[in-house]
């Protein structure tokens, strides 16, 4: 029995979350293409924007993809994961609908303020504050209210995961938490803990400031609250991808997860270490003692451990699957993997690209070497490998596998689907490689015309290649990414609009049990209360004194008035 037949209400929830997320993906992706071409100067004269509107495009690209697309996809994906793994419907589906509506209203408000940069006749005002919305750049209050509603909506959706788990636990007092539900709950423990920072920033400071109720805010304090959330949000994106890699990918490869206990250890480590790391985004900020930046650095490097454990476990699981399919040899088993299956190839390629993103992330995290690439185009080069591929491409793979299960319709345009992940990886390789090299040369990020004032490439010192060649490579890569996105959307729209029963629906939504099951691990791993308490203590150690120092001279001082953009 397919998911939609067994859990029709939940399937509808997943569809709506995915649907809104895909709309955000389409618009944000189009903005990405415009951005890549404008910034690199290729076809700039043909684009319908000017340099000031570049920042509107940049804000829309970041907000719609990094915040909206991700949050909707994650919330919908987790509805499926909890329902499927607990094998029971959600306990309060209306609660999830409430959260969904909150997110839609929030997204609409924020989107209107962003689009105001193109059409000032739209309601509210503009919000060219980029997706980090750093003060003293000031957006219209509707932008901040929209952001708050998006976050609060995700909290409401998440609450039902816990309520459903509680109901399941009442019926199954002695069972281990099913792995997918454990991963969902761990992710949301981390999400609640970390997103509290941005909630305080927006509700206590930015909304009153933009409304004129307070005249100034402390930029360092608000930046710190943002990055308290801003790095864990990376794991809010990645952990759903991990869930897919651990539980769906081995099955698609024809095998089983290698180790359930190792997967639980990984998620526990992320609960503990995801949050006390935000200062590594603030290495160049004054007003934060070096010692606390050092603590953030060590915690960040500790996060390599669960990532490396994941690499080991997932690759071992894939090898097991490949050998079940007849693969052999030290490397030869790779050929036995189902590369023609788009759900598999998208997730597997996303995992490979994520490994490269992990290496560039180490450069970001190092206190000394970070200065080399800080605020350069290296940084977007890095996170297009992580959220832009590890998350986005994994979710595309998930969609290829899951959308037939939640719609009851056979996947359409399957050849396009088979091609799409490879086009994405080639485009991302071109774009991200050039971005990393540009960053080493000092090419700035967040700049409409980095080769400004006609100085051309003269101020930059590339180690490999030339600036003009990198610009061309970014433009080609961005174009290929948009082509790949169009292919994906064509498959999704074609599937969604196809008639039910058109073609044979061959869905197997079962997930095989792990080779090493949960019984092989201590029960303490499932005690999320313990891990939450330890995570809170680590946060207090990492942030207590620095925040006290920032607040000691006044909550709003040293303050800055707003600069509306």
């Amino acid at each position: 029995m397919t998911f939609i037949d067994k859990f029709p209400t939940e399937a509808k929830l997943v569809r709506w979350h995915f649907g809104v997320g895909f709309v955000a993906l389409a618009i944000g992706g189009l903005f990405g293409l415009v951005q890549a071409l404008y910034r690199t100067g290729h076809l700039r004269s043909l684009l319908p924007i000017n340099a000031a509107q570049y920042y509107t495009v940049l804000t829309g690209h970041g907000v719609l993809l990094a915040l909206v697309f991700t949050t909707f996809l994650i919330c919908g994906f987790f509805v499926w994961a909890v329902t499927r793994s607990l094998d029971r419907p959600l306990s309060h589906p209306r609660l999830v609908w409430t959260g969904f509506i909150s997110m839609v209203v929030g997204t609409t408000l924020a989107a209107i303020t962003i689009l105001n940069g193109f059409a000032p006749e739209l309601p509210f005002g503009s919000a060219n504050v980029l997706y980090t919305f750093y003060p003293p750049l000031q957006a219209h209050p509707a932008f901040y209210v929209g952001a708050a509603l998006l976050i609060v909506g995700s909290w409401i959706v998440g609450a039902d995961y816990f309520l459903t788990y509680r109901a399941w636990r009442a019926d199954n007092p002695d069972k281990r938490i099913p792995l997918q539900t454990f991963m969902v709950l761990a992710t949301f423990v981390m999400w609640y803990l970390s997103s509290a920072g941005v909630a305080v920033e927006v509700v206590a400071f930015l909304i009153p400031w933009s409304m004129g109720w307070i005249s100034q805010v402390d930029p360092l304090l608000t930046r710190t609250l943002f990055w308290y959330f801003g790095h864990p949000v990376v794991y809010f994106w990645l952990l759903p991808a991990y869930l897919a890699w651990y539980t769906i990918l081995p099955k698609l490869a024809g095998g089983k997860l290698f180790s359930d206990p190792l997967a639980r250890v990984v998620f526990v480590l992320f609960v503990l270490l995801s949050t006390p790391v935000g200062f590594h985004h603030q290495y160049t900020d004054p007003g934060i003692a070096e010692g606390f930046k050092f603590i953030a650095m060590t915690n960040t490097f500790m996060l390599l451990l669960p990532s490396l454990l994941t690499a080991f476990t997932v690759v071992a699981s894939l090898e097991h699957g490949a050998r079940q399919r007849g693969g052999s040899g030290y490397i030869g088993w790779l050929r036995a993997l189902p590369w023609g299956k788009p759900s598999f190839s998208a997730m597997a390629l996303a995992g490979l690209v994520f490994a490269a993103g992990g290496f560039s992330g180490m450069i970001n995290a190092g206190m000394n070497i970070n200065y080399l690439i800080h605020n350069t185009i290296w940084v977007p080069g890095h996170f297009h490998l992580t959220v832009g591929t590890a998350f986005a491409l994994t979710m595309m793979g998930v969609a290829y596998w899951l959308v037939p299960q939640i719609t009851g319709k056979r996947l359409q345009h399957r050849t396009l689907a088979a091609i799409q992940p490879f086009v994405w990886v080639i485009g991302m390789t071109l774009m991200s490689n050039a971005m990393h090299r540009g960053g080493l040369a000092g090419l700035p990020r967040r700049t409409a015309k980095p080769l400004f004032r006609g100085e051309g490439a003269a101020p930059f010192d590339p180690v490999v290649g030339t600036i003009s060649e990198m610009q061309l490579q970014i433009a080609i890569g961005g174009t290929l990414l948009f082509v790949s996105l169009a292919l994906f959307l064509a498959v999704m729209v074609g599937t969604w609009l196809s008639r039910p029963g058109m073609g044979r629906l061959s869905v197997n939504g079962s997930i095989p049990s792990a080779l090493s099951g949960p019984a092989d691990s201590p029960r303490i791993l499932d005690n999320l209360k313990v891990w939450t308490a330890i995570a809170v203590v680590l946060v207090i150690i990492a942030y207590g004194l620095p925040l006290y120092g920032m607040l000691a001279d006044g909550v709003l001082a040293p303050g800055s008035p707003g600069f509306p953009v």
Partner: protein
């Protein structure tokens, strides 16, 4: 039961070849690009002149990863020779009627023979070549001179390198020419 996105009936020979081609291209292009970058980094790190980024390519299709270190205002253009030629000023003036590269060089004949310095062709970051003919007079031992020159550059382009020729007047009336290529660092553009 097959997975939702797998359809064995589609796995004919053309589709198998398509997948093989995709895998080959999908892995091949990233390996070539990243491998080329790695080789470039290793060449720069292991076989460069040890000055890090400053000694590497400045930019532009004509620039190379080797050669003399870039010079800026205050640097000696003839650091490797017995004469002194200090770059006093180097500016690109971006005017509406065209871009001009103006430079001033303070030359001092610190050698033991009469000397003359000639400024030659400027090559821009984009590879355009602009000839020049400025030269000092014949300088006796210990004499100094200030040499100024202006080059009309293509709009939007900045200087990357310049050839200079040192002329030693040897005993008996002959000349000995020594050609140098100067690589410019960041030359400011003013409007």
């Amino acid at each position: 039961m097959a997975d939702s996105d797998t359809d064995n009936t589609d796995d004919g020979v053309p589709r198998r070849w398509l997948i093989r081609a995709l895998v080959g291209i999908g892995f091949g292009i990233p390996v070539v690009i990243e491998g080329g970058t790695l080789v470039g980094l290793l060449k720069s790190g292991l076989f460069g002149d040890g000055d890090g980024d400053d000694a590497a390519t400045i930019t532009g299709p004509t620039a190379t990863t080797s050669g003399p270190p870039p010079v800026g205002t205050g640097d000696d253009l003839l650091a490797a020779s017995a004469r002194s030629a200090t770059l006093s000023d180097a500016t690109v003036h971006a005017a509406t009627d065209g871009w001009r590269f103006a430079l001033t060089v303070a030359v001092e004949n610190t050698g033991d023979r009469p000397y003359e310095l000639r400024l030659g062709t400027v090559t821009t970051q984009n590879g355009s070549r602009v000839d020049g003919t400025a030269a000092t007079d014949r300088l006796g031992v210990g004499e100094s001179a200030t040499l100024s020159a202006t080059y009309a550059l293509p709009d939007g382009e900045t200087p990357a390198t310049m050839t200079i020729v040192g002329v030693d007047y040897v005993d008996g009336g002959g000349e000995r020419l020594t050609r140098h290529t100067v690589r410019f660092g960041n030359v400011p553009v003013k409007r």
